[in-house]
Every structure is written in C-alpha cells, then in structure tokens.
Amino acid sequence: MTNALFYIIAGIVLGSALLAVTLRNLFHCALFLALAMFGVSGIFLYLGSEFLAAVQVLIYVGAVTILIIFGIMLTRDVMNDHTRVMNNQVFLALITALVIIFMSIAAVNKSSFPLTDHPSAVAALSADTAQAANTRTADVYALGPELIRPERGFAFAFEFVSILLLSALVGAIVVARKDPS
C-alpha cells in the first residue's frame, strides 16, 4: 500500500517534470513545475523528513514558482504562437540526457550499497530506523542545533549561506532595477 503510494508520487513527479520542460505555453510549464515540486515534497514525506517537505512546499511552490511566474509575466510577449520553443539541438540533447540516465542507472546497478543489499540488512535497517525514530529524527528540533553545533563544522557554512542569501537579495534588486541614467 505505502509502496504503491511511492510509485504513484514518482510517476506524478516524472510526468509533470517532463511536461514542464516540453510544453509550449510557459505558464503551463510553470504550473507543472509547481506540481513536480509538490511531488518531490511528497517523496520527502515518504523519506520521513516532514520539516524538509514543508520547507520544499514553502520555498519551491510558494516562492520559486511564483518568482518564475512573475518573470514570465514581466517578459510576456516574447513567446507568440509561431516561435519555436526548442532550439535545433533537440536530437543531440535527447541523446545526451538518455546516455547520462542509462549510464547512471547502470552505475547504480553495478554498485552495492551496504545497508540495503540483502534482506537481513533491510531487517536491520528497519529495526535501526525504528530505534532511531524515537531518539533523533530529521525534524526541526534535531536539525536546528545540528546546523550551529561547533563540533559538526556546519556553523561556518550556515553563516556563509546567510551572507550569500543576503547578497543575492541585494544583487537581485540592483540588477533588476531600472537604470537611473
């Protein structure tokens, strides 16, 4: 039952992602991108990260997609009905994407992942996750201190990302504003 749920969500994600990169109408592309992001947040929920699923919905569906829709509306009249939406490298791009997909899948199939290779490991894994679930999970109470705990070394990256976000905010305003001259 829960397995079927994963495959349904994965199908929604892949289908809407495919539509988001192939449809003509840019606005429809953005809406299907939002659906794909919703699906990815469902995958996050399936992987037990409720906080990150909520963050995914807030940031991707709530902010990035809205930003993209604003961008589409501000640059509106570029796409009329007779312009081509794809360049003349469709065949090469398709070959590149398919080769990367199949090579990566072959590499994954040839690799062995220690925890999930045989059934005993899967049983140990579920016992381990059940044991870990009542000690520490990836919820916000564990994730917050993890970001700034000195012995983990993420504190510098955390501060650096804060500065990056602030400078991106200022930079976006400076780049997009009208030239005063």
């Binding site: 794909a36 990260s49 902010a63 501000l74 992942f113 990836a138 990256a157």
Partner: protein, 104 residues
Amino acid sequence: MNSVPVVHFLYLAIILFGIGLFGVLVRKNAISVLMGVELMLNSVNINFLAFAKYWNWSSLTGPVFVVFVITIAAAEAAVALAIVISIYRQWKSTNVDEVRYLKD
C-alpha cells in the same frame, strides 16, 4: 515499514536529473532553462534524503545539505530572474540563442 529499495529513489532522482538536463539543453527561453536547473537541484535533494534515510539516519548530514541546497537554489533563482528581466529590458528578448552580445 519502508520497503521500497533505495535504488528506486536513485532511479527517480536520475530520471528527474535527465529530464532537467534535457530542458536546460533544449529550451530557448531563459526562464525555461531556469526551470530545468530547479528540477536538477531537486533530484539531488532526493538523493541526499534517500541516503540519509537508508544509510545513516541518525547523522543528519543529508538533511543539512538539503537545507543548504534549497537555500542556494532560492538565491540562484532570484538572481537569475533579475538578470533575465534586465536582459529583456535591454534586448526585448529572453531567448538564450539571441542574446549573444558577449560572443560577437
């Protein structure tokens, strides 16, 4: 409790990455290229969380990296859309194969 094998999450992430790459390579509009980049970043996040779940759930390194990836993706989207709007204002076009001022 959770019996989907980890390779299926990897397959999902790989195919999503391929779709995003196809979009980046093939679309003419810069905003569509940006959408492809967002799909690729999301596939990486799925990978991080799948390994965080199946390999070492208590270490929390994967979720922390996902937080960083989401933050940087948001910053990248903001700056990229500002650049697209600025380009549109100057050239009245957002097609990446028409805006070749640096090349010529």
